[in-house]
């Protein structure tokens, strides 16, 4: 990324409905040279631009080593994402990025790694899962704990069996019961409460979802013996410039777009529960 303000044209090459109001758009930069050069790290985001409406910061949900294809899993939540939801395969939009900090996959070597996701929070973590699957030997036990409002909100559900078969354990829960649902009922922290942790001191946990969920996930993890320094969260605010100039996403001393979105928990714990920050 040479000029962070430079928009590039990206074409939707695939669109997949995921959960109610959520779809994955696989983008491809239309410029051959840019397409070949584009690289991202797990947890980073792009600014997607819809002419006449503006930009939205969207995490990249794809495989970092898959050249040329840039998936984004998007929930309709505002004007820009609503407009994107009406686009189809072959349509184009603008893209800037990638931006921001990344999940610490370089620290996962020979450690138990736990991913805790809530709702669409699994999207920014999916690149880590791809890394686990590609480099399974580098990790010790890999566990994904996934929570959703109800079973229809379980993102990428059709992939879970494949992930399990390839050595990534997936435990899911639904906050509320639903007809025909025989799986776990309860919030995702209850899964972490009873997850066997033979060596919590060496475990590393990454979490993404509503802030309240992440906070209590971190509290549960600490109670289970995982160090605060080994817990990572992905935060979200209204990102605008994406390079820490405009101040829209200021969070205490941090700019989420530039210093985040991924933070080590102990770096933000003291300001995470300040109301309206």
């Amino acid at each position: 990324m040479s000029n962070p303000w430079q928009l590039s044209s990206a074409r939707i090459v695939e669109k997949t409905a995921e959960t109610p109001g959520v779809a994955t758009y696989v983008l491809q930069l239309t410029d051959d040279s840019l397409r070949r050069r584009f690289q991202f790290r797990p947890g980073q985001f792009n600014m997607l631009y819809v002419p006449g409406l503006g930009e939205a910061a969207i995490s990249i949900s794809g495989n970092p080593i898959q050249e040329g294809l840039i998936p984004h899993t998007i929930r309709e939540a505002g004007n820009v994402t609503h407009a994107i939801s009406s686009l189809s395969t072959g349509d184009t939009l603008g893209l800037r990025g990638p931006f921001g900090s990344s999940w610490p996959t370089e620290l996962c070597e020979d450690r138990d790694v736990i991913l805790v996701a809530g709702g669409i929070g699994l999207a920014p973590l999916r690149p880590v899962i791809f890394d686990m699957l590609s480099n399974r030997d580098r990790y010790r036990r890999c566990t994904v704990l996934m929570g959703a409002r109800d079973p229809s909100g379980l993102l990428y559900e059709s992939d879970y069996e494949d992930w399990k078969r390839r050595g990534v354990d997936v435990l899911v829960t639904s906050d509320r019961p639903a007809d025909g649902w025989h799986g776990n009922v309860g919030v995702v922290t209850t899964l972490l409460d009873r997850l066997p942790l033979p060596d919590p001191a060496s475990a590393l946990l990454m979490t993404c979802g509503p802030e309240v969920m992440m906070w209590y996930t971190a509290q549960t993890a600490v109670a289970r013996g995982i160090a605060e320094e080994s817990i990572y969260v992905s935060l979200e605010r209204n990102m605008n410039c994406a390079i820490g100039l405009c101040g829209h996403c200021q969070f205490g001393p941090h700019f989420l777009c530039k210093d985040g979105p991924v933070f080590r928990f102990d770096k933000v714990a003291s300001i995470l529960r300040i109301s309206d920050l």
Partner: protein, 160 residues
């Protein structure tokens, strides 16, 4: 099905509710316990009934539900290995506040609430430890229920 006492000892020592007790305390609890195997779909206890035993899940999952007129049994929580269910028997008359059904084949340690309460009276140190742990179980239940009530994933809720 009758199980050997050492099994109970191992199961209790692996549960968060009874782990890290000294051997004498564990042996005392063992004498107040039995192993209970429960096939999937079997009712463990029913809401409103009096039940002396409290249960530590060793393996499998138990679904806790409440009966709501017009809605049937509404599942509130799934408990799993290491969890304590039927705690009313430890602190009150043992009237169950939920119905518990085995979600899959379960093995549980059933502790006599009356005998555990007696043990707590005669060994206040054990009683203190168990009551603190019970308080922790209940505190976690309250937190989980609050998080459910917050409905964090509702459309238009948290921005994520």
């Amino acid at each position: 099905m009758i199980h050997q006492q050492p099994n109970i000892l191992k199961m209790l020592s692996e549960s968060r509710f009874t782990e890290n007790l000294n051997n004498q305390q564990l042996q005392s609890l063992c004498r107040a316990s039995r192993v209970h195997s429960l096939p999937a779909g079997t009712i463990l206890f029913q809401e409103g009934e009096l039940e002396d035993e409290v249960f530590v899940i060793s393996s499998g999952h138990v679904r806790l539900s409440m009966s709501v007129p017009g809605r049937g049994n509404v599942v509130l929580l799934t408990s799993g290995p290491g969890d304590l269910v039927g705690w009313s028997g430890l602190i009150s008359d043992g009237r169950m506040t939920a119905t518990a059904v085995a979600a899959d084949d379960c093995v549980l340690v059933a502790l006599s609430g009356k005998r555990v309460r007696e043990l707590c009276e005669t060994d206040p140190q054990l009683g203190y430890v168990l009551m603190i742990r019970l308080a922790r179980v209940l505190s976690q239940r309250i937190l989980a229920t609050r998080l459910q009530l917050l409905d964090l994933f509702r459309p238009g809720g948290d921005s994520r």
